[in-house]
């Protein structure tokens, strides 16, 4: 495996019962790059993450560079509202050093001294996970992933369930993380705009690999049609008469 390759996947196949979810997937991820994975609902994007993390059985080969530390940010976690676990206790599962926790919390946008560090007048560290907003929860999960000082961060739809202002914060954060040395970022997204803005490479997935490469080169009408079906209505989505009823 060449030194600049972080992950090499070849002929990956995932089946649930008799259904083939992923078929014949091969790709490589460059070290210190940013890869976006796009595709319609049910295309197998999350399944691909779960397979390369070794969480589900698969056929084929998944090979990580040696001694790689992986930070995983799962898709919108539904924690029980009344789970008596505070942010501090949760982060301490991974790192006991308070200073490191404070600095990672700052890195994900819970700044010291200003109101954002607080949640309903309480310090975010002593807030229960279930009391966090979608965006706050997502940032705490990113903080958790960052605490292991990972070489790669896997984001499964980082902005799912996050409101618009929170969404911007999270993408700003991702772009800030891109500057970090030897940190590869892989994220699943629905938004093409975001893919163009942040990704070095894009992987179009719909059960099989549809396209792979720099977004400006590989995303075109043809690949999008192949990806989302013949009848694409990207820009018509928000138009039309909503006052019919």
């Amino acid at each position: 495996m060449p030194k600049d390759i972080l992950l090499s996947v070849s002929n990956l196949k995932v089946k649930f019962d008799e259904h083939t979810i992923l078929d014949d997937i091969s790709f490589e991820i460059q070290r210190d790059s940013t890869l976006a994975i796009i595709g319609p609902n049910g295309a197998g994007k999350s399944v691909l993450f779960r397979a390369i993390l070794g969480l589900i059985p698969y056929e084929g080969k998944v090979e990580w560079a040696p001694n790689i530390k992986i930070g995983y940010v799962p898709q919108k976690l539904a924690v029980q509202k009344d789970l008596p676990l505070t942010v501090s206790e949760f982060l301490k599962f991974k790192e006991k050093d308070n200073k490191k926790i404070e600095s990672v919390l700052e890195a994900v946008g819970f700044q010291k001294g200003i109101s954002e560090h607080l949640h309903n007048d309480k310090r975010v560290l002593s807030t229960k996970l279930g009391d966090l907003s979608g965006g706050e929860m997502q940032r705490v999960m990113i903080a958790y992933a960052l605490l292991g000082e990972p070489h790669v961060l896997l984001f499964d739809e980082p902005t799912a369930g996050v409101d618009v202002s929170g969404e911007e914060t999270i993408y700003e954060l991702i772009s800030k993380l891109q500057e970090k040395a030897d940190l590869t970022i892989v994220f699943i997204s629905h938004e093409l705009e975001v893919v163009y803005k942040y990704a070095t490479n894009v992987f179009c997935l719909n059960r099989e690999k549809v396209c792979f490469g720099p977004p400006k080169e590989v995303i075109d009408k043809e690949s999008l049609q192949k990806l989302y079906g013949e009848d694409i209505h990207f820009y018509q989505h928000h138009e039309g008469n909503h006052n019919e009823h």
Partner: protein
Amino acid sequence: MNTNLLFLLLTGALVGAASGYLGSFMVLKRMSLVGDALSHVALPGMAIALTFGLNPILGAFVALTIATVGIWYLAERSEIYPEALVGVFFTASLAIGILVTPQPELLEALFGNLEKIGFVDGIITIVAAAFIFLLAREISEKLLLGVVSEDLARSSGIKMPLINLIYLLLVGSIVALGVKFVGTLLMGALVIVPAAAAKNVAKNIVSYQLFGILFGILSVVFGVLIAKFVGISSGPAVVLVSIGIFVFSYLFKRN
């Protein structure tokens, strides 16, 4: 107060502490009903042990171990707990247990009998409860991370199936130990109710677990004292004390 009663209270307090602590994970894992019904499985095991003149705790332990491995297997293989199946299986063991338990021992097997707790039983219980407690503490963080997200735990290299199995075996063991105090019908409640009460008043995990332990101890100690001095079965006494604590904790939460 005589030394016998003190010894009984000490043993019971340890069982209550370990039950409350283990129950704290059970409630978070949303397995309360499974935990509650699990104790029924002890009955046929005790009956078989009694028939062969063995210590009923041993019989209960074997039956519970088999049942917990079964639950674990089902849980690991499917996304949701096959609750109906577990319910059917546990009720079946209770019915069979009632039929095969020798009549004179049936009532105390179902509801607990303090008089039957000998010195050796007590020592075994104290040592085992302490061991269960320490082992549970050892896997506590991993279990809790699994409650937040099983995927997250597994992606950081934690073998969740193994942790879950160890945990369920610990629950089975504490139920086996508590059966003499509380009886097979109600022992599951001693695992679940103190933890459920603790959840009402806890502000974080540390206080949640401490309250779970405290409520477990209070339930057994006051339950045993009431059973002793009023002359009723210890099982209902212990469980009703824990329910009382739960009601108070609920009112506290509402305010």
